[in-house]
């Protein structure tokens, strides 16, 4: 008779994705399994690589903008705003007050959209079907509002360098205000379904525990980091647009597990709702686009009028320029629904970026996924992919 210790087993290699519906896009995970426990997890990315960073070097700043919403396509406006903020800091362009408020409002609307998609996908992955249906129903209201605002439902192309593209109509503002009235009740509906549900508890509590220090070391940002108990939010730390003029709280988790990250995002729904409401109430009058900002027909040659001398408040550092155009570089970060989206642009004083690098939250989160998965069961991998909230378009760029 062989004793149990003498039986040797080999690890089973399981390929999850890239066509798996629960991997939120084209993510491929190679899992080494010991029984049902994950020993090693290797993410393979790059199935959606489109060469955005290189491509944008061949286009002028305004015409590269429509590409940026292809990063995180469920929160298109947030990416565009991030890009515009970066270019505005680089070129020293002022944004009118009204445009700032409109941008803040749309960014928060799209945050709700993105979190709704996250909640729907996360819940249906774990097994709660009804949440998916209810949340998709409410996203529709927001998409209709976006259609009214800028004529597109998903890829909005709404902000412009130095403001936004067109003014909001009264009908749109009424619609948004009505939505903010209604939305808290809808959040309660989602919570009735899963918040105290024992199946939800068992699938999420105590899974994927990552402490505050380790979360920072892994480079997590956004709600994924805040669920680990770190109150780091770029909207508070270095405010852009109108975030310093509106009141909101940063929800923070305590137990650092999947459930706390879920709670964090549910609280962010309420905070976003609050911000939108304040923006509608405080919306000032005036132009929505700086008349001196570079227009759509910006030339690719050297910028004549406003040389890229950064504004004093911008943290651009001029680097060596022995001859030829003045090189300037800038790193500008904004808080998108997934986390910290940073644009690093090197300018040589022309209408095109000399080099552009995009720091995307999904890329960082996927690189932390092996740490999340190791030692957990295969079924938990699905919950863990959900909790880091990734979009592969953003990861692969």
């Amino acid at each position: 008779m062989q004793s149990e210790k003498e039986i040797t087993t080999k690890y089973l290699t399981l390929n999850m994705g890239p066509q798996h519906p629960a991997t939120h896009g084209v993510l491929r995970l190679v899992l080494d399994l010991d029984g049902e426990t994950v020993v090693k997890c290797t993410p393979h990315i790059g199935y959606l690589h489109r060469g955005m960073e290189k491509w944008s070097e061949s286009r002028t700043y305004p015409t590269a903008m429509p590409l940026m919403n292809r990063l995180d396509y469920v929160a298109a406006v947030a990416n565009e705003i991030g890009y515009c903020v970066a270019v505005e800091r680089l070129l020293g362009v002022e944004v009118p007050e009204r445009a700032k408020y409109i941008r803040t409002m749309t960014a928060e609307m799209v945050r709700i959209c993105s979190h709704i998609i996250w909640l729907a996908a996360h819940a249906i992955d774990i097994g709660a079907m009804t949440v998916f249906l209810y949340s998709m129903r409410d996203r529709e209201t927001l998409l209709d509002l976006f259609e009214m605002l800028c004529g597109a439902r998903l890829l909005h192309i709404y902000p412009r360098i130095g403001g936004v593209r067109c003014d909001v109509s009264q009908e749109f503002l009424d619609g948004v205000y009505k939505f903010t009235d209604k939305f808290p009740k809808l959040i309660e509906e989602y919570e009735t379904l899963i918040d105290q549900n024992r199946i939800w508890f068992q699938r999420t509590k105590g899974i994927g525990v990552i402490g505050a220090e380790e979360a920072i070391n892994l480079g997590l940002t956004g709600p994924t980091l805040r669920g680990s108990g770190v109150a780091y939010d770029i909207r508070k730390v270095s405010p852009y647009d109108a975030y310093d003029k509106v009141e909101f709280d940063v929800p923070v988790g305590k137990n650092c597990d999947v459930y706390d990250r879920y709670r964090c995002r549910m609280d962010e729904f309420r905070q976003s709702n609050r911000i939108i409401r304040q923006c509608v109430e405080k919306l000032p009058d005036g132009l929505v686009l700086n008349p001196d900002a570079p227009g759509l027909d910006m030339l690719p040659g050297p910028i004549k009028k406003a040389a890229p001398v950064p504004a004093p408040e911008a943290d651009a550092v001029p680097v060596m320029s022995p001859a030829g155009p003045a090189f300037t570089e800038i790193y500008s970060a904004t808080e998108v629904p997934k986390g910290e989206l940073g644009y690093y642009i090197v300018s040589d004083g022309t209408g095109k970026p000399y080099r552009m690098r995009i720091r995307t939250p999904s890329f960082m989160h996927i690189s932390a996924l092996p740490r999340f998965c190791e030692g957990n069961l295969v079924a938990d991998v699905i919950a863990l992919i959900g909790t880091i909230d990734i979009v592969l378009g953003e990861c692969d760029r």
Partner: protein
């Protein structure tokens, strides 16, 4: 475990609450639309199929071959060429093609056009079996406009990207500043809207 928690656990209170919500939803209105039968009107300003505005005076397109649209087009899907006419030495529009399969519907071309010649109509159903059908030449773009105009119930049409609200108009061309709603059906009221561009810009 307190008695309250024990009761909650035994009687599945939280699951019953969820079930009650779904049961309640059974008696509310359906939110889905049965699409091909039930349609929603597209919201004005939706960026859909491309068209050339047919000038009610000349009956032709208003394009002045300034090449602005093909310059700003992020996906570079607009092809324009102009040729010199032998008789009077003036340039005329020889080719204006939009490869709609490559278009990303950003509407930049509509916004930069100095004479408001281009428009992204609210038309969104135009799938086809061949590539050629969605390769819009100049004639097709005008036909798109006629098709769009025939479907509209109102007399005039103004696209919000011709002159977006809330922008400083002083830098826009005179024609863009004065652009009013265009007539959809030719020959009804006085064509106040259809003005001839003040200065002919070439290149």
């Amino acid at each position: 475990m307190t008695l309250k928690q024990f009761i909650k656990r035994i009687f599945l209170i939280e699951i019953m609450q969820g079930m009650a919500l779904t049961l309640k939803m059974m008696f509310t209105h359906a939110v889905t639309r049965q699409f091909p039968e039930e349609r929603r009107d597209p919201i004005p300003g939706f960026r859909g199929r491309h068209a050339f505005v047919r000038d009610s005076k000349t009956g032709k397109e208003k394009c002045i071959m300034c090449m602005k649209c093909s310059t700003v087009c992020p996906s570079q899907c607009i092809y324009i060429s102009k040729q010199k006419r032998e008789e009077d030495g003036k340039f005329y529009l020889a080719q204006f093609d939009i490869e709609a399969l490559r278009c990303i519907f950003c509407g930049y071309c509509v916004e930069v056009c100095p004479v408001c010649a281009l428009v992204l109509t609210e038309e969104f159903e135009y799938s086809a079996y061949t590539k050629e059908e969605i390769y819009f030449t100049r004639e097709k773009l005008l036909a798109n406009w006629d098709e769009f105009a025939a479907k509209q119930k109102v007399e005039t049409y103004f696209n919000k990207f011709w002159r977006p609200e809330g922008l400083d108009t002083s830098k826009m061309t005179k024609f863009k500043r004065e652009q009013g709603p265009v007539l959809l059906k030719p020959g009804a009221a006085t064509p106040e809207a259809a003005q001839v561009p003040a200065e002919k810009e070439t290149a």
